[in-house]
């Protein structure tokens, strides 16, 4: 049977690396939530998300990525519509911004889907126009795809996800052969026009941007998280304080420590050694992903893989950067480690696509 054939070409190394990270994530989520009655069931929920993610991974492993790329524009359009609806109707006070759709049983965060949609749509456009993107003007349509989505996500405002879209688009374009200085010029022009945009923002939106760019100005909000998370990480030392021994994390001193700030639990309880192991696992995962991109049988697979690599790398850098106080706090999850359904499922889908690319290339 063909399906059985394809499972024989399942890349166990990549999947295994991901599962190791997921197990680390479960341990950390337990550590971050076991003391609280309200959060006590989070490990089970996370396990459920992982199971669901594995299902999605299998699905995307089986379904040929060619058809995904083929349907990319439709998917992109659907996500765009979802984001518009969110801006129009989704006003909720969940952390002050509208990022969620309540589907009864669970919430869906369309900006997670947006990352996926952008990777697919960019891949399709760029692989069909790979000559044009070597010119300056040829870059504008694919960057338009990115800009449109980014604008809607910024409107929520979800700065973190919007910022991830940048490297995703740039890496896909660069791998496809776009000129670095063209992209640099566009980036520069974008930055130069921000004062104009400032004019259209509402007061509270401006304040949010200021505290984003300059967290010290908000000692009570974002800056507070960074200070506490810094203490948690630094006090971990080389070996860490041990499982369930992190005082900062156990006493709830670091807010959101089971989601965005999960890395501070790792660093406090497992020390630099634990961090090195986890970052090593990420590196192994990402290098395998790069390898899969390279050995893909066609340009589409290469670009798709590069997009996934860019997305995962950016999230790791931004998340660890913000927990360790070198980057502003933006609300980006750590792939496979942070608690949360949307994030876990999205990453698993991306891994499924990678496995799919791998399957197709080894079959050739």
């Amino acid at each position: 049977m063909r399906i059985w054939d394809s499972w024989r070409r399942f890349d166990l190394a990549l999947f295994g690396t991901a599962m190791l990270l997921a197990v680390v994530g479960l341990v950390l989520v337990y550590s971050a939530s076991h003391h609280s009655n309200a959060l006590g069931h989070l490990v089970w929920k996370q396990l459920l998300w992982l199971a669901m993610g594995t299902l999605m991974l299998s699905f995307f492993f089986i379904v040929d990525y060619q058809s995904l790329v083929h349907g990319a524009y439709l998917f992109y359009g659907a996500v765009l519509l979802l984001l518009v609806l969110l801006v129009l109707f989704g006003r909720q006070s969940t952390g002050g911004s509208a990022r969620w759709f309540n589907l009864g049983l669970f919430y869906v965060q369309p900006s997670e889907l947006a990352k996926l949609a952008l990777i697919l749509a960019m891949t399709r456009w760029v692989s069909e126009h790979d000559r044009e993107i070597k010119t300056f003007w040829g870059l504008l349509p694919p960057l338009g795809l990115m800009g449109l989505m980014m604008g809607l996500i910024l409107k929520q405002p979800d700065l973190g996800t919007a910022l991830v879209l940048f490297p995703v688009a740039f890496v896909i374009l660069l791998v496809a052969g776009a000129r670095l200085w063209h992209l640099g010029l566009i980036l520069f022009m974008g930055l130069a026009s921000t004062p104009l945009l400032w004019h259209f923002l509402k007061d509270y939106q401006r304040r949010r941007w200021i505290s984003f760019i300059q967290p010290e100005s908000d000692a009570l909000g974002a800056g507070y998280n960074a200070i506490q998370s810094g203490i948690a990480i630094g006090s971990g030392g080389f070996f860490g304080k041990g499982f369930l021994q992190g005082t900062q994390s156990q006493l709830n001193f670091v807010p959101m420590h089971h989601t965005d700030f999960i890395f501070s639990v790792l660093a406090e309880e497992w020390g630099w050694l634990g961090c090195a192991v986890v970052l090593g696992l990420y590196l192994a995962l990402l290098l395998q992903a790069v390898k899969i991109s390279v050995s893909s049988k066609d340009l589409r697979g290469t670009l798709l893989g590069s997009g996934v690599v860019a997305m995962l790398t950016t999230q790791v850098i931004f998340n660890v950067g913000m927990t360790s106080g070198v980057l502003p706090v933006t609300g980006i999850t750590l792939p496979l480690l942070s608690y949360g359904g949307s994030s876990v499922v999205t990453v698993m889908i991306c891994l499924g696509i990678l496995l799919n690319i791998r399957r197709e290339s080894s079959g050739a």
């Binding site: 006070s93 810094g230 203490i231 971990g236 709830n252 290098l287 390279v294 290469t302 790398t313 660890v320």
Partner: protein, 594 residues
């Protein structure tokens, strides 16, 4: 090399580019590890001692609210320092066995409920390094008792806050008061930067302009030792004082109006007919705004809420009454403008008027004889207006009422304004399933029956008669200034509408009203002011089975109007000319410096 089995049909450049990506990823991971090494290995000791001694506390630093000033910059509302009792969850949680005893102890020392303290403590645990405010505005005795037991109360701290003070205790309904943000308000406003324990405007201008007044809170991140002493400041954000409001109110005039209303229940509104400035707005009985600044004393709430005379109601905008004979100016305008009556047309008043065998009486039993519109206004002849109303018909009366702004909110910048009611035949059909009878028109033409207006709307009608038909939107804030007194924004007068009135109509109504004050037979002679020409119209509103309400509207000077007044006294038991007109006179005396 990372990859050996290269697919042969792909050009070389993709490998080179992806190789760069791989190098980039590796370098990024290495840099992150280096950063972590610096924090955990190099700086580890420093961080560890911070974590052990723990560490930090967030000391809130509340922004002073902006001031409220009257039109001559007299201070109506300002701030003074007050101390709040705080409890910081993180500090108390370091000794988990102490949580319950501390909460019990605080409850018995402060008189707050242990339940309430516990709930605030739990809710604050989301931001455990900042204190929950348990009680605001501590008095000295309690502060002493708390300080004495400081060692038994880990996590307790005293926060330097401020509270509202009212140098001139006036216009409580207009100014409103501030109070601690409720859970419901917090849910609705968390987006806009509100937090638990914040003081927010609850009613009046304090509520409407809360965003302007509140400024931006600051705070300090401080390191503390095991005893809760502050060691050093890690980060600091200065608060930004809120902007101030310069009101249109004239404190002196407001004072006169409040004294005049005294212990009556009722409302007074004074407007500038040239722009809609609200010069005075009184509603009695009222409350003391200062009762709500800081800790609300026991019994204040229940006393105010149980008072049958509803002291929280701002009768000037929330009290709806039939306007009574004051409405005759609207009937007159409608009748003249639609041509239903001419200036010369006379009605015969014999003191009683029959329609379909129902008797309708004039207030003057002996009758006014043959009377035309100008004199009918002066003497407030009911029978003239019954007949004029019947000729004008209900739809035109309705339309002109609406043009004068009745039946809809004026849009004044206060919360909870009522629209009132202007009936017509369709309204009665829809709500009561009964046809409109001529008797309804008769009652409506003298401002009785279904009509409902607020005192503010009455004042707006008087202002429109005074200024030739313009409806200015009444407003209480004339400008917003920074804490330093610089202009931030200015409120431009806004037109709500324009009643098209011919010069002839205006002249007749204004003359009728002027003579009501000046003539011996006029109903409003008690509003006479020496040296100033005053126009006025009285009203007495039947309110069976209770005592009549008294109403009066006026404007002055007639040739160049600067002030329009509406007075309503509930259950005055006497006529508008007797009870309400003297109140307006006292205000006009004060306004024109007599």
């Amino acid at each position: 090399m990372l990859w050996e089995n290269l697919a042969p049909r792909k050009p070389q450049q993709y490998y080179i580019r992806l190789q760069r990506v791989a190098v980039g990823v590796t370098v990024a991971m290495a840099l992150l590890l280096l950063r972590l090494a610096w924090m955990q290995l190099w700086m580890g000791k420093e961080y560890r001692s911070q974590a052990e001694n723990n560490a930090t506390r967030t000391v809130p630093w509340r922004a002073p609210r902006g001031l409220l000033l009257d039109r001559h910059l007299r201070v109506l509302v300002s701030n003074q320092p007050a101390l709040s009792l705080g409890l910081t969850p993180a500090e108390l949680l370091r000794r988990p066995e102490m949580v319950d005893p501390v909460i019990q102890r605080l409850a018995s020392l402060t008189g707050l409920g242990a339940e309430e303290i516990h709930e605030k403590f739990v809710r604050q645990s989301k931001r455990p390094f900042a204190p929950a405010r348990l009680s605001q505005d501590l008095d000295r005795a309690m502060l002493g008792r708390l300080e004495e037991r400081r060692d038994q109360l880990p996590g307790m701290m005293v926060i330097a806050d401020s509270k509202r003070v009212y140098p001139l205790p006036l216009a409580a309904h207009v100014l409103g008061y501030v109070g601690e943000i409720s859970e419901k308000q917090l849910d609705a406003m968390e987006d806009q930067g509100y937090r638990m324990g914040d003081m927010v405007g609850q009613t009046g201008l304090e509520a409407v302009y809360d965003q302007v007044l509140k400024g931006e809170d600051g705070g300090r991140q401080v390191r503390i030792d095991a005893h809760g002493h502050e060691l050093s400041v890690l980060a600091e954000t200065q608060p930004r004082t809120g902007n101030s409001l310069v009101l249109t109110l004239d404190a002196a005039l407001q004072q006169v109006a409040e004294d005049q209303m005294g212990r009556n229940a009722g409302a007074i509104v004074a407007l500038d007919p040239r722009n809609g400035d609200v010069l005075a707005m009184v509603s009695k009985p009222d409350f003391q705004s200062s009762d709500f600044s800081g800790r609300v004393k026991h019994g204040v709430w229940s006393r105010l809420l149980q008072d049958e005379r509803t002291p929280f109601t701002n009768r000037a905008i929330q009290g709806v009454y039939p306007p009574g004979s004051v409405f005759k100016v609207v009937t007159a305008a409608a009748a003249l403008e639609t041509g239903a009556v001419t200036p010369q047309w006379r009605a015969e008043c014999y003191g009683i008027f029959y329609i379909a065998n129902w008797p309708y009486r004039c207030w003057k039993e002996t009758g006014h004889g043959a009377i035309a519109i100008e004199q009918a206004i002066t003497e407030s002849c009911d029978i003239y207006f019954y007949q004029a109303g019947l000729r004008t018909k209900v739809q035109a009366l309705h339309d002109y009422s609406v043009r004068f702004g009745l039946g809809r909110k004026t849009g004044v910048d206060l919360p909870g304004e009522k629209a009132g009611l202007v009936p017509d035949a369709a309204w009665k059909e829809n709500t009561q399933s009964m046809p409109w009878f001529p008797g309804n028109t008769i009652m409506m033409s003298i401002g009785q029956g279904y009509l409902q207006v607020t005192p503010l709307q009455m004042a707006t009608v008087a202002a429109a008669i005074a200024n030739g038909g313009t409806l200015w939107k009444p407003h209480l804030v004339s400008r917003v200034t920074s804490p330093e007194g610089e202009l931030v924004s200015e409120v431009k007068p806004q037109k709500m509408g324009q009643v098209a009135l011919s010069p002839e109509t205006l002249r007749l109504i204004q003359r009728g009203m002027t003579k009501a004050v000046d003539e011996r037979r006029g109903t409003a002679w008690r509003a006479r002011v020496e040296g100033v020409s005053v126009a006025g119209k009285t009203g007495t509103i039947q309110n069976p089975p209770f005592a009549d309400h008294a109403a009066f509207v006026a404007f002055a000077p007639v040739e160049n109007p600067q002030i329009a007044i509406a007075v309503l006294v509930e259950n005055a038991g006497s006529e508008g000319g007797v009870v309400a007109a003297p109140m307006a006179k006292a205000m006009l005396d004060a306004y024109f410096g007599k």
